[in-house]
């Protein structure tokens, strides 16, 4: 873990790698030793969640489920809660948010190229997609062979919120948790000052922020194709796949940022908005959530 004092912002910043990306935690208004201790706890929690729900680890709980070959598996309470949540999101999105849709990524590779899969492979792959094809009766899960689950859109946000709970328990400082753009702010900075978050510009990714959000408390999540897309015949295909069609959502914003009570909620609202395509802004307005869309 790297730990440093950011003089220009007057806060402690702990950073580490977890869940496939850079993670940082900013602490305002507490001393170094406490900030270090809390940061270490948060890192341990993020690492625990990563190890448990990583698709890439042979020993993860998710791998155990994905390698069950159609046999019934019994899951622990935490996994059961995540599956319940995933099912709820599936229902609320009428099937558009689906944790079994990850296999579509085997044929869709959003590498900025123009390689679009053919219709036959899309149809074949869709046969292995769909929450309604598996059986989930807490605590027993039967996942058909050739299907896979992944907690993309849930796992990282869940880790942010869990680490936020941990920080709140350990200290009363203003803490900002940022795990690869999924953010939770536990409270204002010293002097009741808000935190200022820059939103990545999809047209100049990673270079500077186009817009900023000021926030005292809450979760922030961004869904976008700033870094992941396909470009063919002038059509930009976002990385958001519609599991009902097997195709990327058309006319989705480049990026949707949502502010909500928790990072989980913000992340899911942003994903839902992306799945709305051209209707994303209307959807967010109807939901009456603070948001920023970049097209």
């Amino acid at each position: 873990m790297n730990f440093e004092w950011i003089g220009t912002g007057a806060y402690w910043r702990g950073s580490f790698s977890a869940m496939g990306g850079p993670c940082e935690i900013l602490f305002d208004g507490i001393d170094e030793s406490l900030a270090r201790r809390v940061c270490n706890l948060a890192r341990a929690e993020a690492t625990r969640i990563e190890h448990k729900y990583s698709r890439y680890r042979d020993d993860s709980e998710l791998t155990r489920i994905n390698h069950s070959h159609g046999r019934a598996v019994t899951v622990d309470a935490e996994t059961a809660q995540l599956l319940d949540y995933a099912e709820r999101c599936y229902r609320l999105s009428q099937g558009k948010f689906d944790i079994s849709s990850g296999v579509l990524r085997r044929i869709w590779r959003f590498d900025g190229s123009d390689k679009i899969p053919d219709a036959a492979s899309i149809t074949t792959t869709l046969a292995h997609v769909g929450w309604d094809k598996l059986l989930w009766r807490n605590p027993v899960l039967i996942l058909p062979a050739d299907m896979e689950l992944d907690f993309g859109g849930i796992g990282k946000e869940y880790a942010v919120d869990r680490c936020a709970m941990l920080c709140r328990r350990e200290c009363d400082a203003g803490v900002l948790i940022n795990y690869g753009g999924d953010i939770y702010i536990s409270g204002p900075r010293r002097g009741d000052q808000p935190w200022i978050i820059a939103i990545d510009d999809p047209y100049a990714t990673g270079k500077h922020g186009t817009q900023t959000l000021t926030l005292h408390k809450g979760g922030v999540a961004t869904s976008g194709d700033a870094r992941r897309f396909l470009l063919r015949d002038g059509i930009r295909y976002s990385h958001i796949l519609d599991p009902l069609t097997g195709w990327p959502v058309r006319d989705a914003p480049r990026s949707v940022t949502v502010v909500a009570q928790s990072c989980l909620e913000a992340g899911m609202l942003a994903t839902f908005a992306m799945l709305q395509g051209a209707n994303a802004e209307n959807f967010l307005r109807e939901q009456n959530v603070p948001h920023k869309c970049i097209r």
Partner: protein, 462 residues
């Protein structure tokens, strides 16, 4: 997606998220809930050939809520040994009563045993996010001294919490009742031999008469002839003429304001100003002063000491803490002055060497120097007019002390610490002042002090 429940989607998601976070398993934790903290220490202080103190102290802190704590701190002291009386050594045996003699060329001391019990309670609570208050009360009792006090303080963060301003006040009410049961009159001659005792018949105010060679009256009688006070030379000890049944009070009011400022990522600085007023009986009832012959320098008698009834104390304090990448340096300076003429400087530095795995070693050095009180006299000349106030207490003399120590600490469980500290203190003053007369020039008029301090501390959370 064609949602039937558009408006309720957000609340449904919020409920689902809350459910997931609320029911999910207990958070990973590196420590147990910190709702009860124990800090305790055993201290042994030993002056060479003088006072020895064994002390137990503890702080028990219960967390009541967010930022709100209540703590109880008991202290038990056991003090034994010998304390200088204020009389100087001479080249002859000195007699302070039939059973109390001091050999030639030896500092007169008084042996004593005392126990002190003290307890304080402190309640800290926040007013808002930036403001904290502390209310406290304390009491202590020794067989000849009791003290009761209250205190309050407030601290508020400013400037994005980079600056903290604090202020506080305390009031203490003390009562002195010497072992004899009676408070001695100030600047009153002591009986030094079994010479004639002359009775007086002054009702209210005691009268002292130096008959010859330091011999004085030892009883005070009322107009009706009843003895209402006095001391018997046959009882031995440091008897003096006294007014009976008088315990005496002392009130101490203190206030302070302080500023703590984060200078940069590594440096914290603190400034404090304190103002204190003491009124009442500030004299030490056990201290005496040698009366010497103005020519030979020989001791001819003793009188009790007498200090002013008021004392105004002021303090300026500066501290800085520097966090190096691993280690921490603490440096502080304190300037003290009062209207008794005492000015003191204290410089203290300690350095935490982190040894890894929670172990650290902390060397410490401290320098202290003070000027004498205006009314400090190592002795007074017999026959000369007495000053209004006089004391030969070594603590009011010009002096310098150095303390060197080292502390070693190791972790104890998840949140505990076990530490041991050893310090050596050396105090020196003016042993051969320019105004020494006759045989006084052969004597050490400020014998100084050396002491060792050992402390074992333990702290943990329950």
């Amino acid at each position: 997606m064609q949602l039937d429940e558009r408006s309720s989607l957000r609340s449904a998601l919020a409920a689902a998220s809350c459910g997931l976070l609320g029911i999910s398993p207990a958070l990973a934790s590196a420590d147990t809930p910190d709702n009860f903290q124990v800090d305790s220490a055993l201290l042994y202080y030993a002056e060479k050939d003088r006072v020895k103190v064994a002390e137990f102290s503890g702080i028990f802190t219960q967390t009541l809520g967010e930022d709100e704590t209540i703590s109880l701190s008991p202290t038990i002291d056991s003090i034994t040994g010998a304390s200088p009386t204020g009389a100087t050594s001479t080249d002859k045996t000195q007699t302070f009563g039939t059973n109390d003699t001091t050999p030639a060329n030896t500092l007169p001391v008084k042996h004593f045993i005392d126990h002190r019990f003290a307890a304080s309670v402190s309640w800290q609570r926040p007013i808002d996010r930036l403001t904290k208050t502390v209310l406290g009360a304390e009491g202590s009792a020794e067989h000849d001294y009791t003290s009761l006090g209250i205190n309050a303080s407030i601290a508020r963060d400013f400037d994005n919490r980079l600056t903290t301003l604090g202020a506080g006040a305390s009031a203490d009410f003390d009562t002195v009742l010497p072992a004899s049961g009676i408070v001695p009159q100030g600047l009153a001659p002591l009986g030094v031999s079994t010479n004639t005792v002359t009775a007086f018949s002054t009702p209210a105010e005691p009268v002292f008469k130096q008959v010859n060679n330091g011999v004085v009256a030892h009883t005070v009688t009322s107009a009706s002839g009843t003895i209402i006070g006095g001391g018997s030379t046959s009882s031995g000890g440091l008897d003096s003429i006294y007014i009976p049944h008088q315990s005496r009070g002392k009130e101490v009011i203190d206030g302070h304001i302080g500023l703590t400022r984060v200078i940069n990522r590594r440096t914290l600085m603190q400034f404090n100003y304190g103002l204190g007023i003491s009124t009442g009986y500030l004299t030490d009832p056990y201290k005496i002063i040698s009366m010497i012959d103005g020519t030979s320098g020989e001791t001819v008698g003793y009188i009790t000491e007498q200090r002013p009834q008021n004392r105004l104390r002021q303090t300026l304090y500066w501290e800085t803490v520097v966090h190096l990448p691993e280690d921490v340096i603490h440096l502080s300076y304190r300037y003290f002055w009062d209207d008794w003429g005492i000015r003191s400087h204290t410089v203290d530095v300690h350095y935490d060497f982190e040894l890894g795995h929670g172990f650290y070693i902390e060397p410490q050095a401290r320098y202290y120097t003070q000027t004498a009180a205006d009314f400090y006299h190592h002795s007074l000349i017999d026959g000369a007019s007495l000053p209004d106030y006089a004391s030969a207490d070594y603590r009011l003399a010009q002096m310098t002390s150095y303390t060197y120590g080292v502390k070693l600490a190791m972790p104890l469980g998840q949140d505990g610490e076990l530490s041991a500290r050893a310090s050596y203190m050396k105090q020196t003053g003016i042993s051969h002042p320019a105004d020494a007369i006759g045989v006084q020039t052969t004597q050490d008029l400020y014998p100084g002090l050396r002491a060792m301090i050992f402390q074992i501390g333990i702290s943990f959370k329950l």
